[in-house]
């Protein structure tokens, strides 16, 4: 088994993003269940926030690809 620290970094970044996006998805499903009439707004906010979380994770992943 070979590998670099960068690979561990990429894995950690994925864990972080997974937790973040999971929270966003879970909470927005809860919110939609509570208020189905607001589902359009909630979905928009969900995608936007998920994109921000993903952006932070992608910076980490790409850095770990380039610096390995």
């Amino acid at each position: 088994m070979t590998g670099t620290l960068a690979a561990i970094g990429a894995g950690l970044a994925v864990i972080g993003a997974g937790l973040g996006i999971g929270q966003i998805g879970g909470k927005s499903v809860e919110a939609i269940a509570r208020q189905p009439e607001a589902s359009g707004d909630i979905r928009g906010a969900m995608i936007l926030t998920a994109a921000f979380v993903e952006g932070a994770a992608l910076v980490a992943i790409l850095l770990s690809i380039f610096f390995q």
Binding site: F52, L58, V59, I61
Partner: protein
Amino acid sequence: MHRMILRPFCLLTLLVTGMIAYAQHDDHSGHEQDDHHEEAHHDGEHGDNNGHAHDAECGEHDHQHGPYDPKATAMHHIADANVYTILDFVRIPLPCILYSKETGWDVFMSSKFGPGHHDDGHYAYNGYVLHEGSVMKVIEPGFPAVGKHEVGGFSSDHGADKTQHFVCYQGEPQLLEAKTVWDGGILGGGVTSFYDFSMTKNVVSMILVSLLLFFLFRSAARGYAVREGGAPKGAQSLLEPVVTYIRDEVAIPFIGEKQYMKFLPLLLSMFFFILGLNLWGQVPFLGGTNVTGSLTLTAILAIIVFLVSNFNGNRHYWQHIFWMPGVPVFVKPLLAFIELLSLFIKPLTLMLRLAGNISAGHIAIISFIGLIFIFGNSGESLGGGVVGSVLSTLLTMFMMAIELIVAFVQAFVFTLLSASYIGTAVEEHEHH
């Protein structure tokens, strides 16, 4: 109505077949030889490749003959190339436009390199060679700088801090110039001594997708002129819901009723361009171009968004960046610093998100296909190959379904975030 949609497709088909015809026409010098060469490689017999006797003399050989290397394969398949290869046997040559300070302009078709297996060229032309689809320069002193010369295989030396590539010429390995890397050579990479303005595979894909979009939208626009006020038909029915969705769910909520019309064309162009290229890269057996997954293209798109949002920024926007109202004075410089940073981080993440997601999809698919070779032990084990094929087919199909969603979501997210960045810049503040 059918003719409306059929016509652009016919045109595209004609264009592509024309290119293939040209490829075959231009390639036939030494074509038969190439075939022999390739067959020999496939059989793993290096002895009988006629005319390539010096091939084996160059010590370590090119990596495609060794065990399967998933990382190199993935990187090769997501990279841009100077030849459009479909399924490793149709090779459409593309124009190479190179400029170097010493030798000046060089304009020729990449068929001059005689691209063969794995997009490696069999010839050097004016001191340039084609390695894994990209043009590289031979910098070994004594290598003929002018004319077409036959070369052997390529080899790489994976050193501790950098990889050097060599090409075999008359039995001697010749050093190739390191390719330009994203950081401009700070971390041990390189910057080439020549400028490459070539029309690469990615550029061709962009042109094809733009043409397709142009014809699609022209057909829709004609539809509106012909059936004014009537029910939409054909391309109109395809595009109208998407256009109204972007307008009602992205442009109006983020930019505002008053100013959205000014930015809607930009947002729609970006959405359809990104979506078209995402889907074009998804079509199986069509080259699998990774245009929206290349940082170059996404950087340009992000720079456009950066310029548009900042040039349209109003007084409130700049005030919120440099002198945030409503906070204590000692916090203001700190906030200004953070806001200034975020000004540049916004387009940076925009760039990385799109490129990262699309490249990740391409890498995942090529890795799943590579499972065949990993399980089959590069052709050694038949049973493993069968298991790997079944597994890889299922996983690839699953991944392609996911990627279809990702293609839409990423185009949408890019548009949404652009709208939100433009929206914060042009927003009218009444509350203070």
